[in-house]
């Protein structure tokens, strides 16, 4: 796909450098001349948006560290020092805290786009796997970052999540103690989380480079799922993709700014403005919204170990996806049944998110008591999350493998450019030269 380089050094310095370190050539081939399918829609702009998110998190994070004190005694007060005394500290901190949520909004859209258009299928399996690794690193980073302000939800969230490892047989307790650096979540835990929270983003950046490398080897997928066959199927990355990505990024930044400036605490939990107190447990411990579906899967299983395994299994399904989907057709545009299941899957994920935020035994339909099953009323969030979890796993483990073999797919176009495109090219400029300008 990358093919042979068309870069031509123009100045003497560029020629000199190109013979020694062809870094300008690399940039030119990757971000200027790189051929992109001409039919990419806006769902393809989230890769660029995600790099913007990563850059924003890195920059704001590095500035926050200049003012933050990683100590169980001083962490909470130092965050408030940032909010009150550091110049524009409130802006930097709200950007970082809301930036995490924006990062997850973008990554979920990016992943669902890959799922819908079959971007994980051969030859893009490694590209998909690297993406899953980035997602896993993001979850670890976000979780540890949430612990750093050392508020009530930070502390008790850390207790709940680290205790999950205690469910593992034989080694569980030792692993938990090792993670804590002691016999409870305390100062050593905070310090190691801080260290790792600073390390992991750079690991993410490293895997992102691999992710982009893999992308540039196999080329981008596109809404038809048909590989570009000729030059007429593609356009150079610059200016075509850059300007479209730029527009999408600016729209995304409007959403981001709306949260940062007008509802900065809407996505957080009020309890995290209370300093951590090991002796007082919040009445209702909930993770950040982006973990809620997994939290619901965890609680859907009555056995702790099985719950932990189910939760990790839900993520493992993503890694196995390239080999679970047996369909020869990439894009769900041409897979009518798979498309329906995709949207049910989307609803199931949202339902799991809602269930994760609720108390398990609260009724879904208020005031209605049905009958007890496995120690819970059938009309309860725990049973709703059981149903949604079942669909989540069935989607990956049953529906995609079976459907690929049995589904009657629609005819797939021969190439990207040949069938009717949604936006055909404008006629030659002279013919219709902007009628609206003539008036």
């Amino acid at each position: 796909m990358s093919g042979h380089s068309t870069y031509e050094p123009k100045t003497g310095f560029e020629r000199w450098l190109d013979a020694r370190l062809p870094i300008v050539r690399l940039g030119y081939d990757s971000f200027v001349d790189y051929p992109t399918p001409r039919n990419l829609n806006y769902w393809w702009t989230f890769g660029g948006i995600l790099s913007l998110c990563l850059a924003s998190q890195l920059i704001t994070g590095i500035i926050l560290v200049m003012h933050y004190t990683p100590s169980a005694d001083h962490a909470f007060a130092s965050v408030e020092h940032i909010m009150r005394d550091v110049n524009y500290g409130w802006l930097i901190r709200y950007m970082h805290a809301n930036g995490a949520s924006m990062f997850f909004i973008a990554v979920y859209i990016h992943m669902l786009r890959g799922l819908y258009y079959g971007s994980y299928k051969a030859p893009r399996e490694v590209l998909w796997l690297l993406g899953c690794v980035i997602y896993l690193l993001m979850m670890a980073t976000a979780f540890m970052g949430y612990v750093l302000p050392w508020g009530q939800m930070s502390f008790h969230g850390a207790v709940v999540i680290t205790n999950l490892f205690g469910a593992l047989p034989l080694v569980g307790e030792s692993i938990t103690t090792w993670l804590w650096g002691g016999f409870a979540v305390d100062n050593p835990t905070l310090n190691r989380f801080f260290s790792l929270h600073y390390l992991l983003p750079f690991m993410i950046a490293g895997v992102v480079i691999l992710h982009i490398w893999a992308l540039h080897v196999v080329g981008q997928n596109n809404p038809t799922g048909v590989e570009p066959k000729s030059k007429s199927d593609t356009l150079p990355f610059t200016p075509y993709a850059t300007v479209k990505d730029g527009f999408a990024m600016s729209v995304f930044m409007i959403l981001f700014a709306f949260f940062v400036f007008f509802m900065p605490n809407a996505l957080g939990h009020a309890d995290n403005y209370i300093p951590a107190n090991p002796l007082v447990t919040p009445s209702h411990i909930v993770p950040e919204w982006y973990f809620l579906p997994f939290y619901a899967i965890l609680r859907a299983v009555p056995d702790k170990l099985m719950g932990v395994l189910a939760m990790f299994g839900a993520i493992a399904c993503l890694f196995a996806l390239p080999w679970l989907d047996t369909s020869k057709v990439r894009s769900m545009r041409y897979r009518p049944t798979a498309k329906i299941h995709f949207f049910i899957f989307l609803v199931a994920c949202c339902v799991l998110g809602v269930c994760g935020a609720k108390l398990p035994d609260d009724p879904v339909i208020p005031g209605l008591t049905t009958f007890q099953l496995m120690a819970s009323d059938l009309n309860s969030y725990v049973w709703l999350s059981r149903a949604a979890s079942l669909y989540y796993f069935a989607f990956f483990l049953v529906i995609l493998p079976v459907l690929g073999l049995t589904e009657k797919t629609l005819p797939v176009p021969d190439s990207i450019a040949s069938p009717a495109l949604s936006h055909p090219a404008a006629a030659p400029a002279e013919a219709t030269a902007a009628p609206e300008m003539k008036g």
């Binding site: 408030e80 009150r84 400036f261 009020a270 403005y273 609803v347 339909i365 208020p366």
Partner: protein, 284 residues
Amino acid sequence: MLRKLSVLAAVAGLLTAGLAGQALASGHPLPAKNLAWSFEGPFGKFDQAQMQRGYKVYREVCSACHAMSLVSFRNLGDKGAPFYNEKYPNSNDNPWVKAIAKDYEVADIDNETGDVIKRPATAADRFPSPFANEAAARASNGGALPPDMSLLAKARTAGPDYIYSILTGYATPPAGLRVEPPSHYNQYMAGDLTSYWSGDHKHVPPGGFIAMAPPLKAGQVTFDDGTPSTVEQQAKDVSAFLMWAAEPKLEERKQTGFAVLIYLLLFAGLLYASYRKVWKNESH
């Protein structure tokens, strides 16, 4: 397609019903009263007169038990703060701030002798806490710990609405509810009253027990601007003051946000025009 949509709508409807129903179920506290605040909305600003009244309520009533340890006296003279005056851009010079600080005594170390001494506070000091430590605070309050008020308006769901509701939410306990001193019945307090309720189990009264006795009384604080000193007025003013204490940069944040949004909208418009121009002659 239509069928799918209707299924989705039904699911969404069920979920909303679930959300709405929960707040009304018996045993839960009443939802906080929804007041109109000057600092709400994209152009919201603190009402300086209200915050000054609120500060007086804090000083004369709340501060007897509640610390506000994250706030410095100088903060009272910052932009958007209760005692900001444009003549004193450096809040340490602000005469109101200085006078307020001088009223407090803070612990210090005598540089000459090394003894622990008390001295009048300066603008640079933080508000001293009424109790030396948590144990002392609990000992003086029947075992309950009065929460620090620096962040209270952000540390409770519904923030200032919640604080106002608690302050005005004391009610005569309904017959059948056993209230054990020093607890007080409050309709907006979280808690479970089931084991104290001898009436119908399907109709447990809303709310919970709070250790704090009703703190506000009509006329207790005299407002210098002549505002009638009702319990509601005191509660509202002190809630607004506490919102400022929790989020002192609120005005700066909203003003910056407005400028940023205008910039981003223009920027996005420009990029969209460029996008249309670049892609004009390309099918996609």
